[in-house]
Every structure is written in C-alpha cells, then in structure tokens.
Symmetry: D2
Amino acid sequence: MKRIISHPRITYGTSLKEFIDFYRGCAFGAARVSEAIEIYFEAVKNHSLISFGLAGAMVPAGLRTVISDLIRDGFIHNIVLTGANVVHDILESLGLHHYYGIEGNDEELRDEGLNRIFDVYVPDSHFEKLEEFLLEVFSDLPEKTDFISVLRAIGERIRDRNSILKSAYDSEALLLCPGFMDSMLGIHFWLSAQRRYVDVTAELRTLSERIHEAEKNAAIFIGGGLPKNFILQSMLISTKEGFDYAIQITSDSPQWGGLSGATLSEAKSWGKVKKDARFTTVYGDATIIFPLIVAGLRISLEDRK
Amino acid sequence: MKRIISHPRITYGTSLKEFIDFYRGCAFGAARVSEAIEIYFEAVKNHSLISFGLAGAMVPAGLRTVISDLIRDGFIHNIVLTGANVVHDILESLGLHHYYGIEGNDEELRDEGLNRIFDVYVPDSHFEKLEEFLLEVFSDLPEKTDFISVLRAIGERIRDRNSILKSAYDSEALLLCPGFMDSMLGIHFWLSAQRRYVDVTAELRTLSERIHEAEKNAAIFIGGGLPKNFILQSMLISTKEGFDYAIQITSDSPQWGGLSGATLSEAKSWGKVKKDARFTTVYGDATIIFPLIVAGLRISLEDRK
Amino acid sequence: MKRIISHPRITYGTSLKEFIDFYRGCAFGAARVSEAIEIYFEAVKNHSLISFGLAGAMVPAGLRTVISDLIRDGFIHNIVLTGANVVHDILESLGLHHYYGIEGNDEELRDEGLNRIFDVYVPDSHFEKLEEFLLEVFSDLPEKTDFISVLRAIGERIRDRNSILKSAYDSEALLLCPGFMDSMLGIHFWLSAQRRYVDVTAELRTLSERIHEAEKNAAIFIGGGLPKNFILQSMLISTKEGFDYAIQITSDSPQWGGLSGATLSEAKSWGKVKKDARFTTVYGDATIIFPLIVAGLRISLEDRK
Amino acid sequence: MKRIISHPRITYGTSLKEFIDFYRGCAFGAARVSEAIEIYFEAVKNHSLISFGLAGAMVPAGLRTVISDLIRDGFIHNIVLTGANVVHDILESLGLHHYYGIEGNDEELRDEGLNRIFDVYVPDSHFEKLEEFLLEVFSDLPEKTDFISVLRAIGERIRDRNSILKSAYDSEALLLCPGFMDSMLGIHFWLSAQRRYVDVTAELRTLSERIHEAEKNAAIFIGGGLPKNFILQSMLISTKEGFDYAIQITSDSPQWGGLSGATLSEAKSWGKVKKDARFTTVYGDATIIFPLIVAGLRISLEDRK
C-alpha cells in the first residue's frame, strides 16, 4: 500500500505550496496532479529533453504566457502545436485580443462578425490584420523552405516576449506545426502563392534527431490530435526505446479507441513509452489542470534545489 | 464584451490568492472556477441558506475534511449525500483509513480482501469494524424513527471533529441521506432488525421547510445522482421560485440526457433555479476543482471583508 | 488472438439479423454491443435471474415499451429504477405524452409551463393529473406498508399494458424504487400524509433473497446511480459470490472515480461480480445502444433455439 | 411541439427498416440518429457535394468497407482522413489483418511485437510489409509532387476493391490526408529520401475549389481533429456561405472548448455552416452509430425513390 489518504485541510492562510501539497493527500485526479508535478520535476532534474504537444484551443483560452515562460525557462525544448494555437499566438503578438463572455446566439455572432471558440470570441477584423502580417512574412520566403524555417521567420518578427513563437525563437526551442496547412497559416500560405514546394520531412527529421541525441526524454501532452501522435512517432523512429517520462492532460477517454484518449500504457506496446517509464494521465480541463502542474513544478524546483 | 483574456503568468513567488486570480484571466473551465468562487462568495455574503449535494466517492478520495470544515464554518447548512459517503466518513471516524495506489488486478484484490474504488482501497476488515459500530447504534434506536435522527445519533457518537457527520451534528447543519438503504448503512440497518418502520417523509419535509424559510437559497452540487435531484425537488415544493445561486461540479455532460449532467439552465424550466439566478457548471474532476473553489472562497471572505 | 476484424458490409438488402452481426466483425463499441447480446442470450438460456438497473431519463426518452416487453417476456425478473422513471411511466399510462423538439430557451419554457429533460418536454398540466392519480392511490394505503407494495398498488390500477409498472405487476417481476422519496412519488407521498412509516428494509430483503435463491444471476445496468449500487449490494448480502453475467451501458467513464462509471471488473474486488463472470461495458447513449441489444437478443433466442 | 415520443416496440420479426424507424420514436441520441439519416438522405437527394472527415481509428476498428462502399456508390465525394486510417487501409489491402481481443498487458504485448489500438492488435511484421510496399511506391515518385498525387499513386497500385484508397481512385473521389507526415506514411516518405519538396497547397486548393463549384455542400464528420478542421476551413475560403448539411458523430463534448467537440452551431459563427443549414451531432461511439446511419440512408434511398 503506497500511502494513506490523509484528508488534508484548506484554510485562509494556506500557501500555494501547501495548496498543491493538498492534492498529494487525495486520490483520483487530485493524486494525478501531484504525480504529474513529480514527473515533470524529475524530468527537469534529470536533464531530459522535454517535448510538449499542444492541441485544443489553449492559446485562445489563456495559457499562452504560461507556455511561453516554460519555453524561456528551459522547461520545454520541443513544442509541437496545432495551427490554430500558432495563429492565436500571432494574433496576441499583434496586440489583437481574445474576448470572453459575449451574449448572443451563433447566428447573431455571425452577423456581428464574432467568431466563437466555446466561450472565447475573436472579431473578423483580427483575421484581416493577421492576413496582412502573414502575407508580408510569406512574401519574403525563399523558394525552397520548410515549415520550421517559416515559423522561425514569424517568431523572429514578433516583438512580444510573451509569444510562444518568439520565445521558441529566442530560446532555440524547436517549434513544430506539422498541421501548418490546416489553419489560417495554411490559407494565407496558399493565397500568397498558388504553388508552394516545402520540404515536408523537416519536422520529423529534426525532432527524431533531437530525441535520438537526448539521454533522457520526456513528453507532455495537452490534448491529443496531431501533436500527440507526431511526438510519439518521432520517438518511434529515433531508435530510442520510448519516453522515460510522460504526462498527459486530456478531456478524452480511452474507451472511444482514438489516440487522443489512449492511455500512455498503450503507447508502451508500440515502444513509444518505455516499459519502466514514469507516466500519468490527468483527466479534465487543461485550463484548470496545467496551471496547477506548472505552479507545482516551479515550487518544487526552487524549494528542493 | 465582458473582458479580455489576459494570459496571466505563474512564477515561483505566486501566492495562492494570485494563483486563483490566474483563472479569472482565462476562459473555458478556468473561467468557470473563478465564477464558481464569485457565486459561492456572493451566496455567503448575502446570507444564503447553502444546500450541498455530494455524490461520487469524494470522501474515499480525500475531500472529507474540506467538507466538514465548510460545515463547521457555516458555509454549508444542508448537506445531502450518498450512503457511501456517509459510510466512508464513519470509517475514517473510527480510525480506519483509505489507501491509495495498490498494485494487482481485481481478482487478486478479491483474494486479498481489498475492495477497490478506482485507485482507493478499503480492506474487508474495515467493514467488519463498521458493522460492530453500526449495530451498536442501531440497537439503541426508538421504534419510530427517521433517517435524520439515525444519522444524528451516529454523529453524536463520533469523536473525530473532522467527521462530516460529527460536524453536521455539532453545527446543527441538516444532514440528509435519502439513499440510506442504498449503502452499508442500509445493509446493517436491515440485519439489525428484519422490519424497520421509518418516517420516510422527514427529509423532504425538513429540507423544503428550511428552503422555504430562507430569504436567499444557494445550491452546490458535486456530482449528480440522488443528492442533486433531492435538493432540486425540495426547492420545487418549497413555494420558492428557485435557487438564487447554484454551482455544479460534474464530470458528466448534458448530451446524455440524464439529470447528473443536465445544465443548471434546464433546471430553470422546472422552476428549480430562478430565472435571474447566478449559476455556473465546472466540468471535470471534483477532487481537483472543489479545493480550488474552497481556497478561493476562503481568501475572498477574508480579503474582501 | 480471438478473431480477425472482418470489415463487414452494409447494403440495401441487409436484414436486421445481418446488421447486428455486422458489429461482431468490428472492434471498439461495436464489438461490445455484440458481446452484450451474447451475454444476455447466454444468461437467458441458462435460466439466470435477471436484475435490471435503470437510471437516466430512459422512459421520457422512449424506451418504455422496450423495457415493459422484456419484463412480460420474462427477460427481466427484477427491475430497480429511479423515481423519475416510475413517474414518467405513470404519466404515459395516464395517456399523458412526452414531447420532443420544442424551440425556446429555458426561461421561455418556464413561462409556458414546459419542463425540459434535455430535448424532451413535459407540460405542467401532466403533473397535476399525476397528483390526482397518486393522491387517490396513496389515500388507500394501509398504515404499515413498504414501497414494493405501494408500487404494486400503482401497477394494479394501471390499464396500459405497455406500462413498466403494470408489466411488472402482471408478470410478478419484482419492481423496486429505493429512491421513491427522491421523485414526485415522494412529494405526493408526503403531501398526502405528514408522517409515513414505511418498512424500508423490504427492497433489500426481497431482492437479496431472490438473488440468493437463483442458481445463476445476471445484472444489466443502464446508467449507474442508485439502481446500479442497489443491485450490486443486494448481491453482496445474498451470500452468493457475485453475478455470473453482467452488462453495463453507460455514458460515464471510469477515471472520475464514481460508481456510475466504474468498471465491472472493479466490482470483482468487492465480490459483486464473480471472478469468472462474463461481462462487458458498452459506452455511449443507451437510447441508441439498448435497442440494438434487445433486437439481437430476440433474434438469437428465436434463431438459435 | 414537433412530435410525441411514441415508445416503439422491438419484436423478433422487426425488419431493419422498422428497427431504424424505432429511433424516430425516441429522443436523445436515438432521435439524432434518425435526424442524421434524414440529413444524409436529403443531402444525397439534392445532389450535394459530400465531404467526409474521418478521424479516430475507424479503419482498424472495422468500418473500412462501409466507407469504401459509400465512396463507390457516390455518397462520399471528398474524404479527408488521418494518416493512420490511410496506413491501416493499406495494411488490409495487402492482406494484413487487424485482430481483436488479445490478452496480456502492454509490456507483454511489446515483447510479443503486438501494437495495441484499444482492443485492436497489429503485429510488427505487418509494418515491415507496409514499409516494403511504400518504399516501392515512393521510389517511383516524380521530384515535384503533392500528397494528393502520392495517395492516388498508392490507390492505383491497390487491387483490393474494398480499399478506401482504391475506391477513391476508381471513383475519382478526392482523397486528402493533410496529416500525411503524421503517420507511417510520413516516416517512410522521409526514410525513402532525406529531403522531399511537396506542393503543400494542393489539398486546400483542390478541396476549396470543389466546394466552391458545388451548388449544395454537405459535411459528415466522424471524430474531429485535422479532418474536421480542414473541411471546415476549406469551406471558409470557398466563398460559399457555409455547409448546407452537416452531420457530426463524436465522443467528445463541447465544454472542453476544443474543435473536436465543438457544436456545429459554433461553426455558424465562423460562416462554416450556413445559418439555415440542417445539421445534427450524434454523441457516442462511431463504430456503433455510423453503421446505423449508413443502413438508414441506403433504405431511405431505395424505399423513397
């Protein structure tokens, strides 16, 4: 028996550290939050290469700075994210905000030019400014390029230090968006030139080489989709035997059979996660869960130096 | 437009108050955590009668003291909970712990006499001691009784101040378990006497009268099931026009059509939630979410006096 | 390796039997549908006592006749259901329909006296007629009674053969509603007499004795809640070693830790499901899944005589 | 009020047509199945261009022939699918089966060279044969290519008429895999040449042109992910005002904020679904739900000629 459920207490004076320790006294999701913190902490302590998969509308929902800080502080080394998260990072970089809590049904929103992402809203005008920005970047590209370079070119032009793209650029973190064409990036990439020949092997080659060279590898997934699969398959071809550490935050569930909800244990059967890896899945809403893990990591790193 | 998504930051020095404020800068579940805190805070400030529905194995999972403290501090006035949560509260009161993180499949656990609740374990021997305790209480009961009185009789005998039953007894909070017979309580209630005539109207009468008399009413639901329905129907017969405040934490979802996942808006159509009520639903794991709401409430109550 | 995924085909001429066989060629939920049919078939063939737990608003959603036919045909022997399902069965028995697909938000519905259950609507006037009916039944009750008898008294008065209560009454199936007071039944039971002394041990005693006497026991659960727990705990005290067969249809998921989403394997650790039992869980919407299982059962019983 | 819930009946003699009509008498998911059939039927009758998004491991789970038949019969005109679904379609085309129902934990499976997808298993040796096949195809490619052409080259070589790729090739259906590199296709594409310059605009250009030219457009989504987003964004740049018809089958849920679970109503705010479109979402397991919709479509098309 590993430990007793301790039924901890929360009072007015509880510190953030104590609050996060609270979860260690519980079971279910709470226990998994504290395990995720331990795993992240151990991965950092052991100088793991940390690959981070980001799906879901996490930038629109407000996690942008949390993630860019992790990149700048060296707690994320590779980030694979959906096109939408890149697009919304650029919007914020251009000073174009996301809004929360508008009233109205979807037909009214359409008339008002407000695009809805659950409870987040983006005006049409934002996307017009995005277009201007992207067309300028894309007009400068060399004929032979790849998406890693394109994204670095974007990151280079961004001035906002809180940008994920800018932070990756500044920190020489590898930022990959293999679904580049599946987003407004892709739309404008096409609109700016009818044909675009891109070296599509760049992402897989670069990430798998990095993983191959690392002594220890960690994977952190928010959501599933292409980022999760891409990181896992990069491990597959790296000649390594799987991730040493893995954390998954998901609102999906294993029983539907898709990769997004698949257990990390399933990944062992493929050799994507090591047989003796430390891993956990925290189920629920990443906007609630991920900040807790980040806070716990930062406290652990300082207090357990 | 209500507000801008502010993309807040988490650093080593972030206090618990700042951490909880973080959620207010986000959307999705994070925003709902901060709304739930505001609603709970306003409900307390406005001297609402707070009815709390507790389903799911929240006591085994470690939320026992958090809840009993809320009762003692006057932030829960009526608590409707499942029989299992009562049973596991009694176990802890008898010094019989819950355990986290045992290895083994369910057939091996059976052989070892370990009963599993997801990742929480309870040895058979605990239930034997529970039986002794309950039989003693039940042997003393008057012939004509009701479950409110039975549970108060149990609460009276418990010495552990962290007990939910003891806290309700000490605080004159109303503690209801309309599914009393659907638990080990019920099993031993029956085993201790082949026939038991109980006034089954007591719970409905007492709760609806309390709600009727209160100027403002608030409902907080962890999970759905019988506790949620019972609190909502007690409102229905109270002659009030619905709850003024309502918070729901659920891992269920509206599209399956059951009450557990039903929106609080749906409850408006029944007159169970007021048309102009303040309410929110936070989706996910209550062991992660509820502690955040409690911490936020406690900070708000102190800092915004 | 059990079998090859056969990628079956659906054409215009496909019969219902062939359609259901389709699922046997697949994996995921489809495979589980066909397993559930096999288990139900085997349970019937082996003369098992079949206990059926019904939670969720399945009667309002349209599964009433499917269930009452199963009772009449001897494929359900004990039924444990929520108070709401009883109430809505009575409404239909009184010729008071449920409606599908109304427009309007919940505040408007409130003004129009339409009570919403996801996409099902019940007018206030229905509940007034229910009240009349129930008060008449309740006024006739003996002083000492129990809920099994009360529900039989209701079933006796119903003339609609499609009624679940009537079918149970006619078939001498045991119909239990341990959450009787957690429904409009309970409301009117109270309103018709300020105090009601009821033998609350009747359900547990009767169901556990039936289970005890049966050679083979099967459990079928639609949803979780009180019906699932009540059937499982009745097994626990029956001195049997667990259900021989078990089928669960649920939209819940194990990772939240509650009983409703708990695996049937977990029930083995408690001795509620036998170590060598045949069991399966089908995840999803029971209004879609259960009719498939019933159709498959009926075809198997005829064609494999 | 649209209609009365009719509580239909299932007997031994029920035909497949009657069985599917059953759902029309219910609410919740059942009602949505029948709506999805109506929408698909109407889309076909009105000569809509039907774009089909396929995510989740639906080919491994057994839906391959159902889908390839829909392509051959002209009920799917554009198909956007994940790389994994392409890979597993090729495996089957090479006579390499998927298996269901193996015993053993993931570490043992690893040792045995069995890769797990929930309850489906694929031996390592299959992937070796896939590699041979793909390397042969890839070695023949012209220097300047795009993924549409590559997939057509694969489809051309496949002899199995039940193949999705072959059926698309034969029927001149547009088959897109914008996440080509996010799969074993991508791995071998890279391994067969260290640099690969591909016209990445081909998919977006071709699909949006097709949508632009169609008088009526329909979208059918199994799962979300890249296929759903790609089809929706192709509509966005087509200058059309949104899909006229849309059907979504998903195990995801709106409240998590991601696109996969987003309502089709949300897509209206973006102009991706028309304001007056006919659309529905069926929640649950597509291996159960999609065959029902296909059967219903086929019956409607024949019987309502």
